[in-house]
Amino acid sequence: MLNYSLKRLASAIPTLLLLITVAFFLIRIAPGGPFDAEKALPEDIKANLEAKYQLDQPLIIQYVRYLWQIVQLDLGPSFHYRDWTVNELIAQGAPVSFTLGALALVLAFTLGTALGAWAALKQNSVADYSTMSVAMIGISIPNFVVAPLLVLVFAVTLGWLPAGGWSYSFSHLLLPTIALALPMVAYIARITRGSMIEVLHSGFIRTARAKGLPEREVIVQHALKPALLPVISYMGPAAAGILTGSVVIERIFTIPGIGSHFVQGALNRDYTLVMGVVIFYGVLIIVMNFLVDLLYAWLDPRIRYD
């Protein structure tokens, strides 16, 4: 297991290097630079700015210098938000996105698997169809419709909860968590239902029932674990995506996560900010996928990493 983990970590380094290289050159190929604006700057002022951020150097030198910075865990200054370094921006935004993402994940996982399993057990009944129809609606209605609706009802009309802003409090977290989790609940419910039905028809469940095990034990002990495998493999990348922030939800609820940095960074051609978020995102995906593989081994005894 340790051997496997080390191998996985070693293989992550070239992956990251490739990611950094491609992203570094791609963002620079994009037309326009960080200092282009509606009111174009005089040439000498622009030259001063480029010199300050070392954009006047040959690209390859900028690249090597950037790699050296990364090795020192320094993501550089933001070109657009000039009072902050990228490290500071990510350090401020990541805990916010993490908190919101983690809550949404827990909610989505708990509710999604419960609904999915329940629908599978009641297969082809009214309960099954109605749950799955609601799930289908949940998948089809995008975040940017659900979120403003929640705001309209619970903040503007009823005045129970704030319409936006951020603090680590229940009232500020509730609506964005629900809005972020809803499509995932629906998706997880559908995956769980499908795989649960498959598992319930498999040989070892029939054996378990034939042995005379109580139905509850058959479901919880034997059926649920293998039925969750596809959910887990979906949760890995989904977690990475949701933990790094949802642009839409952050915008609608004015939440200072890192999702908006990604988009604003790209729009502003804030090279260092985009790179910082890309690297952060890349590392997170690698870690999440690794964790999913470890979880797999725990859930399915047939999988061994030796």
Binding site: Y81, D83, Q92, R269
Partner: protein, 513 residues
């Protein structure tokens, strides 16, 4: 016995509850009494006076710093740190006497040396201030005495007083985090909010009502509207486009729309065909557009139709908003058709053209309407090209593939020259590539003329630009805010500058008295 114990408990409970209620009320009173919540728009690019560039940064900086001059509630330049000032006859040498009561937020005195420090740093190329070029008219500056500051200009600068209200001209303390303005920065969460507290050392601290300003970052106008309606904001930075009528119905006088010193136009690329050397074609396209229909039906937020570049509301500027043909639709269209034919185009040989704009719902709506008018009246085939923001500004600047593009200008200060500089032959802002020696000469002449003469020279230059039809003016901007009925001291003004120090909340003031 049992009952007595119970009574004792209940009376204790009541006492505790009472204490909690009193404490909570006291806390609530200190926390929210004199707090004004304002929408800010996007996260400011910087709160350092020399690095800031965007409007949102300027709005916050005007709260935490003050220049030689500042703005009153109606946006007019008034005395700031300078108590009084005078100039020589040519208006080239200006002397400012500073308020001896002016203090930094640590209590130390603000002196002329702090201005020398600030201005020197602004001009230091190593600091790369993006607004340093605004100081171009300044030849030299020095501290004559601890409270006397002298500035020498190299050209006539009628906007000099307004320049002195801009962050790049603010003083700088030895410790740059100190504030010279009515408020000081308490906390800043990027992407969320900026909390300011009243500066007790501010020279007019007793005249500032709010003890706390919270600027909320509001990237999305829709979200900002929700927060306003939920009672979380007193003033918004903007309103969602295209919902003017609904907002007026729902929020009545809380919706504040007012003329803004900005102009929206379409620019022709004059460096290549089909628009280089084809004045008739440019005129035909301009005349075919019904501005009134555009502002009423397509934009519908109180914008004013434009036939000229420079918006009304500029002091001393002639108020000729509409051209003679603006009101006579039939004559206008007929003339447009005639010119179109003279330019060598017809129904059989229609003009095919690209209209380029940056991605935005309101720009698209406008472009669709313009293309429809060209199609209807002239038979022009227009291809709409929308581009991501940076791609658009780069293409527009390079002028290799552009034909007709969205253009606009929001004034840095209320001066016609600020608009006209866009069309100087060698200006980096000139994306129409309009190049007219006579126009350039008029601008140079205006920069050396007396103020009355200057206005007429600039007017002449504007007329030349319009006669050459380098642009199609479409409308003048308006500023749009939602302002809670409790808010006092918020006065609409063409620069759309609203310093927090002039604001107060009506109901709560009454409660406190």
């Amino acid at each position: 016995m049992h009952r007595r114990a119970q009574r004792r408990i209940s009376s204790q409970t009541v006492r505790w509850l009472g204490l909690i209620v009193v404490l909570t009320m006291a806390l609530a009173a200190t926390a929210s009494d004199r707090t004004i919540h304002r929408g800010l728009g996007p996260e400011p690019d910087s709160l350092e006076i020399h690095q800031a560039q965007g409007l949102s940064a300027f709005n916050v900086l005007r709260d935490i710093h003050e220049g030689l001059l500042t703005r009153d509630s109606s946006g007019q330049p008034v005395a700031g740190i300078a108590l009084e000032w005078h100039s020589d006859q040519q208006q080239r040498v200006w002397t400012f006497r500073l308020d001896p009561e002016a203090r930094w937020s640590d209590g130390s005195v603000i002196t002329a040396d702090d201005f020398v420090r600030g201005w020197s740093l602004a001009l230091d190329p190593a600091r790369a201030s993006p607004t340093a070029h605004w100081l171009d008219p300044i030849e030299s500056f020095r501290a004559l005495e601890p409270h006397v500051f002298e500035v020498q200009l190299n050209i006539d600068t009628p906007w000099f007083q307004e320049l002195l209200t801009l962050p790049v001209t603010f003083p700088m303390a030895e410790h740059p985090e100190l504030s010279s303005g009515p408020f000081m920065l308490e906390q800043r969460v990027p992407g969320s909010q900026i909390q300011l507290l009243a500066n007790p050392f501010f020279r007019q601290a007793d005249q500032v009502w709010p003890d706390q300003i919270i600027w909320h970052v509001t990237e999305d106008p829709g979200a900002e509207l929700s927060r306003f309606r939920a009672g979380e904001l007193h003033i918004t930075e903007s309103v969602p486009p295209g919902r003017y009528r609904w907002l007026r119905q729902q929020l009545g006088q809380q919706l504040r729309v007012s003329p803004y010193l900005g102009s929206f136009f379409l620019g022709f690329n004059l460096s290549q065909p089909p628009f280089a050397d084809n004045l008739e074609l440019r005129q035909a396209l301009s005349l075919a557009i019904d501005r009134r229909l555009l502002v009423e039906r397509v934009l519908g937020s109180g914008e004013l139709p434009a036939w000229r570049l420079i918006p009304p509301g500029l002091s001393g500027w002639p108020q000729s908003i509409e051209a003679a043909h603006a009101n006579n639709d039939q004559a206008r269209i007929e003339r447009s058709r005639r010119l179109y034919q003279q330019a060598g185009y017809s129904a059989e040989r229609p003009l095919e053209v690209e209209l380029r704009f940056n991605t935005s719902l309101s720009h698209r709506r406008l472009a669709v309407a313009v293309a429809a008018m060209w199609k209807q009246h002239l038979g022009v085939r227009t291809r709409l090209v929308n581009e991501e923001w940076k791609v658009f500004v780069t293409n527009r600047r390079q002028g290799r593939i552009t034909q007709i593009m969205r253009g606009g200008w929001i004034a840095d200060w209320s001066d016609a020259g600020n608009f006209l500089q866009l069309f100087e032959s060698d200006s980096p802002l000139n994306y129409t590539f309009f190049s007219d020696p006579e126009f350039d000469r008029l601008l140079v002449q205006a920069s050396q003329a007396s103020s009355a003469q200057r206005q007429s020279l600039l007017y002449e230059a504007e007329q030349r630009l319009l006669d050459q039809q380098a642009i199609i003016p479409l409308y003048y901007y308006v500023s749009r805010h939602l302002v809670h009925p409790d808010v006092q001291g918020f006065a609409d003004n063409p620069m759309d500058i609203h310093l927090s120090r002039w604001l107060s909340l009506a109901d709560r003031t009454d409660q406190n008295q």
